[in-house]
């Protein structure tokens, strides 16, 4: 008990001590950010496959397939890395999330399975239109459901509604924590954000001007949707997620934070309107990252509000130390490999132009 008293005293200080646990919680956030920026955009691509329309419907779908084909499996591993870091470094957090959010996470897994396999099956099955459309529908609907449920799960954590004690009542323990307006607002927010990222990225990868305009229009429309979803989430946070509401409205850093998000969003919009697509891609990625880290900041020092903190849920120091070493060694291998992957497949912008 004296240890936890010591910890809470520590928490009162303004600047947090850089502990191993804090570094690893940061690593979880980095992994999650990478997943949203890369894996999230792959799901967003699936959403635009579903909403492909107009005279260039087929070209839109072909561009999406070509953009995500070589990289989606690597992008997907970020999620596995996040899960593994959570259960190794913060086992009680992983256990509580897995129990209370059993239902949305299971549904999300079904989405993950269907998205990945349907996409691959479509690539390698008969190129006949009806066969392609059938796999395509499964792929695109799964791409729509999965980010929504990921957002719902994240929203339920942020709302602070996961019960600490082993639940006795089914509804109270396994349904009520996530079947609320706020988690679904976050789910919608996540879905629109991933669709927005995908549309912005695809403007860079489009191989002709008309196709680029298709995705530019989609990027602008989904950017507006992101804004609306963000406002709805904020409004619902007042009643549904007190920590989020307090952090975003009355903390000392809130004005600066909102200014940064707004600057990123406006830059992305301006760049989209003026066809500076590479700048738009950077700004949109910055916007999405700021949103995620804003969530981390309002929740700090809690991993699950309002009792499991970074420090009190951390694994023993021997484990944390080794994981940090493994992370450093792993990143030394991983970063050049990822750079290579993206250079091979994303280096040349208009490869099918001729």
């Amino acid at each position: 008990m004296s240890r936890s008293a010591h910890r809470s005293r520590r928490r009162c200080r303004r600047a947090p001590d850089v502990t191993l646990a804090l570094v690893l919680a940061g690593a979880v956030m980095v992994g999650l950010t990478a997943y949203v920026l890369m894996g999230g955009a792959d799901f967003g691509g699936g959403v635009w496959d579903l909403f492909a329309s107009g005279p260039r419907k087929q070209q839109q779908r072909a561009l999406i397939a070509e953009a995500i084909g070589p990289i989606w499996e690597a992008n997907h591993v970020w999620l596995i890395l996040v899960v593994v870091l959570l259960f190794v470094c913060f086992p009680s957090v992983f256990a509580r999330i897995s129990v209370a959010l059993h239902i949305p996470l299971t549904l999300m897994l079904i989405g993950i399975v269907l998205r990945g396999s349907a996409f691959t099956f479509r690539t390698y099955d008969s190129q006949r239109d009806d066969v392609q459309r059938r796999w395509g529908l499964l792929f695109s609907w799964a791409s729509l459901i999965t980010p929504l449920l990921l957002g719902v799960s994240a929203g339920a954590v942020a709302a602070g509604s996961l019960p600490a004690a082993t639940p006795t009542d089914f509804v109270e323990g396994f349904v009520a924590p996530w079947l609320q307006p706020f988690p679904f607002a976050v789910g919608t927010f996540a879905l629109t954000l991933m669709a927005y990222l995908a549309a912005v990225y695809l403007t860079v990868e489009a191989f002709d001007g008309d196709l680029q305009d298709d995705f530019r229009r989609r990027a602008i429309a989904s950017g507006v949707a992101v804004f609306l979803a963000a406002m709805m989430t904020l409004a619902l946070a007042r009643g549904g997620a007190p920590l989020v509401w307090r952090g975003l409205t009355s903390s000392r850093w809130a004005p600066l934070y909102h200014a940064m998000v707004a600057a990123a969003a406006l830059t992305a919009f301006w760049a989209l309107f003026t066809r500076r697509v590479r700048l738009a891609r950077m700004a949109a990625a910055a916007q999405a990252s700021l949103i995620l880290w804003g969530w981390a900041a309002v929740q700090y020092p809690y991993l699950i509000p309002s009792d499991l903190t970074i420090e009190n849920s951390a694994a023993p120091p021997a484990t944390l130390k080794l994981v940090v070493i493994a992370l450093i060694a792993g990143l030394v291998l991983l970063v050049p490999s990822l750079v290579y992957l993206f250079r091979v497949f994303k280096g040349v912008p208009s490869r099918r132009g001729a």
Binding site: L81, P91, S98, G116, S126
Partner: protein
């Protein structure tokens, strides 16, 4: 169905499904690599075609393996939160390393599958080497974690909680080495013979097809040596189990009564209540020798284990015997193929051997499934041997029969789709007769 049984069934079903794709993900890159290497060495385009065709099949298998593996990493928590709360910090290291190995595999598989026209042949081959290496490594890391559940080390138990956690000692648990060697060999044997059987079947129809002839040789070169080494590795594994998990060993062997000069029990129907195996063939003293290297050594029987700590004896015994039988059949096929090759006979002309290989095609995979039944069912009622019971680890979530049913249906549908797609890929394989233009040597990279 109780929630515990539903959770165990869901986990078992998810593992049984995933392991097929995991094994293929370890084995296929090596096959593709051998074929691609032969192409770069000889300029024989048939080998290039082979590597590219195999790569397509591998892409399908790898995608299903990746998503079903994701399901498993979540299911560890969704079904067994108390196990993860306890074990996460102790055996998390191999899982973290597996994360990076899998990352490397996914990255370079993307490069390999989509990079044929984008990078130089040498770089492409190097990407293949990285896929094969990281695939084998990720399998090894996962099996290390499983070995820890069988022989847990690296912590002290104080009032039910782990203290003095030492993740390195957990990685170096006693079963880690034998189990990882056994599983890695199994992956190569199962994939090699799985592929060999398919091409053998096609050769029975078209014996002159050069594409299938080459494929058969490459597949046997990967599967054969692994199958030959597997009995040796299995012997080491059995001795390890006899020393560390006597209850599992006794159940595998249908050995109820502790005693010296114990017989090896072949086949039969174990009757747990009567503590005997009916209709079995007993080979005197052999079990003592297999377990401890001495015909008169004492082998612990189930009578030394409290009845509530017995695994399901008939299931474990039959699974074990089936695994050994399938493995021995693969050894026989390897020896016959090696003999034919030694006598410089064209394998494609040995029709009876080809028929045997068709029969052997699923056996490696069946042996893998049976082997995992032995490992997992043999450890019950424990999830961590001697430390935590499976019943203590399960989630409080009710109605687990619902996700179990749903995932079963999903995986049945996926299996059907995979079989359909693979059939399509295989039927499209090229018609290459003896030395047509495709087989003529071409300059590299042409």
């Amino acid at each position: 169905m109780t929630d515990l049984l539903a959770a165990r069934s869901q986990m078992g079903m998810s593992l049984a499904f995933h392991i097929v794709f995991a094994v293929i993900g370890i084995g296929m890159p090596l096959l593709m690599l051998v074929a691609e290497w032969r192409w770069q060495r000889t300029g024989d385009r048939v080998y290039l075609e082979l590597a590219r065709r195999w790569a397509k099949g591998t892409a399908i298998m790898f995608a299903v393996g990746a998503v079903s593996g994701t399901v498993l990493s979540f299911e560890l928590g969704l079904l067994w939160p108390e196990f993860m709360r306890f074990a996460g910090p102790i055996i998390g290291m191999p899982f973290s390393l597996e994360g990076f190995a899998f990352f490397t595999e996914a990255i370079f598989l993307g490069v390999y599958l989509y990079g044929w026209e984008r990078i130089a042949p040498r770089a492409h081959l190097a990407a293949g080497v990285l896929v094969a290496l990281s695939g084998a490594l990720s399998g090894i890391f996962v099996v290390i974690a499983n070995a820890w559940m069988n022989t847990p080390t690296g912590f002290d138990l104080v009032v039910g909680r782990p203290v003095n956690v030492d993740p390195i000692a957990a990685i170096l648990n006693p079963a880690a080495l034998t189990q990882t060697v056994h599983m890695t060999l199994a992956a190569y044997a199962a994939t090699g013979f799985g592929v060999a059987g398919i091409h053998a079947g096609l050769l029975l129809r078209k014996p002159a097809n050069l594409f299938h002839r080459r494929a058969l040789v490459v597949a046997l070169l990967v599967g054969g040596p692994a199958a030959l080494l597997q009995p040796l590795s299995g012997d080491r594994s059995a001795k390890m189990v006899a020393a560390e998990q006597p209850a599992k060993f006794a159940a595998m062997e249908g050995h109820f009564r502790t005693g010296r000069g114990a017989p090896f029990v072949l086949g039969g129907i174990p009757d747990a209540d009567a503590q005997t195996v009916r209709y079995a063939i007993e080979i005197p003293k052999v079990l003592s020798f297999l377990a401890h290297g001495d015909f008169d050594a004492e082998v612990t029987g189930l009578d030394r284990v409290p009845r509530d700590e017995w695994p399901n004896v008939p299931l474990v015994h039959w699974s074990f015997q089936l695994m050994v039988a399938f493995g021995m059949f693969l050894v026989l096929c390897t020896l016959l193929a090696a003999w034919a090759a030694f006598r410089r006979r064209e394998l494609a002309a040995q029709r009876s051997l080809l028929r045997l290989l068709v029969l052997a095609s699923p056996m490696g995979f069946l042996a893998v499934e049976a082997g995992w039944m032995v490992t997992e069912l043999g450890r019950q009622p424990w999830v961590i041997q001697g430390v935590m019971r499976t019943a203590e680890a399960v989630t409080p979530m009710p109605g687990l029969v619902v996700p179990f049913t749903f995932f079963t249906l999903l995986y049945v549908a996926l299996s059907a789709a995979v079989v359909w797609l693979m059939r399509r890929q295989i039927l499209k394989s090229p018609d290459v007769e003896e030395r047509p233009s495709l087989a003529a040597p071409l300059p590299q990279g042409a």
